[in-house]
């Protein structure tokens, strides 16, 4: 097992390096970072633009720029200067990541619990009313534009606030701005939770919709298998067969799918964050893309690619642990 993990980690390194090359090309193709200077009225003198290009290494060839960037990152842990902002790129990514992680972890936990519950129920009672209802709900959420739903939900939250005269639902940002005056732990915690509810519902439903369908399908397959029939005919109770025999097996593929989806959510959640104006990874990327802040984009893409690769590895390892048939020799 350990050998397998180490080998996979070693294989990941060239993949990650190749990924940096790919992201570098994409970022370079996405536009001219100094366009904002060139479009400014009155236009700054050419010498100033040239000097900016020089300090950002934009006047060198792509391979030189790439080497400059990757060697700085690997040898000094330096992400390069931001084009327009003043903050350090590394610390910006770290703080944005913390915000997104909070959103993603809470949504994933809630969505997973609900998805497994409803998935199992609708598999056990296939073609029942419960099954049809949850399946239909799942399909509707799979077919809904996330931001459309999010905007409606936000509107509902605002309506609730104005009806009750409270600020129960935070609809803008991950915390109140300006910060609430009460600095006690309870009040601060409440503030964070109030801002968390609506985005978690949005992001959770996206995960829930696909995971509950997945659970249902994988549960159905297991329930039809011979060993479950055997367990029942041996005289084990329905409940015991369901929980100990069927569910355990059915959840194995779900772990893989979830691990992969979580990675995508961590990098993404772009839409949800945009609607609720959270200062997370999604917003960071969109702002950087709008202004072609290439060092932020590069850093962002590398961080998300690393997360995806790591979660791929986690998925493989989990699979090996849960399914005794798979041996990583």
């Amino acid at each position: 097992m350990l050998v397998f993990v180490i080998r996979r980690l070693l294989i990941s390194i060239p993949v990650l390096l190749a990924s940096t090359v790919l992201t570098f090309v994409i970022v370079k193709l996405s536009g001219d970072p100094l366009l904002y200077l060139k479009q400014r009225q009155p236009r700054p003198p050419q010498s100033f633009i040239d000097q900016q290009a020089h300090t950002l290494w934009l006047d060198r060839s792509w391979p030189v720029q790439y080497w400059h960037w990757i060697s700085n990152l690997l040898l000094h842990g330096y992400w390069g200067p931001p084009v327009q902002g003043h903050n350090d790129v590394g610390s910006e990514i770290v703080s944005a990541f913390g915000v997104t992680a909070r959103l993603v972890i809470v949504s994933v936990v809630i969505a997973l619990v609900l998805a497994v519950l409803t998935g199992v129920i609708s598999a056990v009672k296939q073609y029942s009313l419960t099954d049809y209802t949850t399946t239909t709900i799942g399909f509707v959420f799979l077919s809904m534009p996330v931001f459309w739903f999010a905007i409606l939900l936000k509107q509902g939250g605002l309506w609730f606030n104005s009806k009750t005269g409270t600020h129960f639902f935070g609809t803008i940002g991950e915390r109140s701005i300006p910060p609430i005056t009460d600095t006690s732990f309870g009040a601060q915690f409440g503030d964070i939770m109030g801002h968390l509810i609506l985005p978690v519902i949005v992001l959770g439903l996206v995960g829930y919709a696909s995971w509950s369908r997945f659970t249902r399908a994988s549960m159905l397959e297991v329930l039809n298998s011979d060993y479950v029939r055997l367990a029942r005919s041996k005289g084990l109770s329905r409940r015991r067969v369901l929980v100990r025999h069927a569910l355990r097996t059915a959840l194995i593929p779900l772990t893989t799918v979830t691990a992969l989806d979580v990675a995508a959510l961590l990098g993404g959640a772009i839409i949800t964050e945009h609607v609720f104006q959270w200062n997370g990874m999604g917003t960071l990327f969109l702002t950087a893309l709008n202004t072609i802040d290439f060092n932020v984009m590069l850093g962002w893409l590398i961080v998300t690619a690393t997360i995806v690769i790591l979660f791929n590895l986690v998925a493989d390892i989990l699979y090996g642990i849960l399914d005794p048939r798979i041996r990583h020799a």
Binding site: S143, P145, W148, I270
Partner: protein, 308 residues
């Protein structure tokens, strides 16, 4: 089709003699069986009709409807009425016509994604799976690489560099989704290429391209069909998401995503501008998803509980 259904379904008590049956009961090909299974999935069958209606609405509707999306009327900011079923916006454009146009454009994007993405992914997967060796590992590593980048971020970055025309957005989203298809198709091809019929055609002297295109590709069609519906549904949603974050189709060209994005500012005063395009996106994606579900049941019978 229905005729055949009846004949084969009914185990008639006064069954004709054995020899007679042999000649009257038509042979059921694989595709006929699949069609039968598909028609049993009532929601999927209904979805085909809904989807056809949507296509009619989008492409034939503008020829029939009294207003068009270019000319504004004198009715400004009107809620839905009989005259303007979907209301009008602040310039006086009839929203029924505008939504027709948006649906048509969104469907075009979705079809580009579905067709180009599926074909590119299929070719990618067939070549990788059949040739194997370094070609396989090379092609698949490229797919892995693309999949390490969140699809929406990748599409946004690519779309930004090319400017937001309809065809470009469609092609970008197709490029982003092709690796998924390639992975699935490769898996299928890996198991197919060891089968006797491939060996036989190789023994008969068929070229590699002939084997790939004439023997392997047709056998992946069931998988491709299911995947194409997935791509279309996800493509429609991805297009709206791109529009929302500002990197999708650029006005004056339009799509359902563009319509919602522009309408969100007027959600308080003219909510109908926001509701109707959203409902049409859901209708398209939902019917396509259901069709995909029906196709999966029909073409991959292992998934369903009862043997049919």
């Amino acid at each position: 089709m229905l005729e055949i259904n009846e004949k084969s379904d009914v185990e008639a008590p006064s069954a004709p003699s054995k020899t007679e049956r042999e000649f009257t009961v038509k042979e059921r090909s694989q595709w006929r069986m699949a069609l039968r299974r598909f028609l049993r999935h009532r929601v999927a069958t209904a979805s085909v009709f809904v989807f056809l209606l949507l296509i009619l609405f989008a492409f034939v509707g503008p020829l029939v409807w009294k207003y068009d999306y270019i000319n504004y009327t004198n009715d400004i900011s009107q809620p839905p009425t009989l005259k303007h079923p979907f209301g009008t916006d602040s310039t006086g454009f009839d929203q029924f016509a505008v939504v027709m146009r948006g649906t048509a454009q969104s469907l075009k994007v979705a079809f580009i994604i579905g067709i180009v993405g599926t074909l590119a992914g299929a070719l990618w997967g067939v070549v990788a799976g059949y040739i194997g060796t370094w070609v396989d590992s090379g092609l698949m590593r490229v797919a892995d690489l693309i999949l390490t980048i969140p699809a929406l971020a990748l599409a946004a970055a690519l779309a930004r560099s090319g400017g937001g025309t309809l065809v470009l957005i469609g092609l970008v989203l197709a490029a982003v989704s092709a690796p998924y298809v390639a992975r699935v198709v490769r898996g299928v091809v890996l198991s197919l290429r060891e089968r006797e019929f491939i060996e036989a055609s190789r023994a008969l002297g068929a070229s590699h391209w002939r084997i790939m295109l004439r023997h392997l590709l047709p056998n992946t069609v069931p998988v491709l069909l299911v995947n194409a519906t997935l791509l279309i549904a996800q493509g429609i949603l991805a297009e709206t998401a791109l529009s929302y974050v500002g990197f999708g189709i650029q006005p004056p060209d339009t799509s359902l995503g563009v319509l919602i994005t522009t309408a969100q500012g007027a959600l308080d005063s003219r909510p109908w501008l926001f509701y109707f395009p959203g409902i049409f996106i859901i209708l398209i994606a939902l019917s396509v998803n259901f069709i995909g579900d029906g196709l999966r049941d029909a073409l991959d019978p292992r998934q369903t509980r009862e043997r049919r």
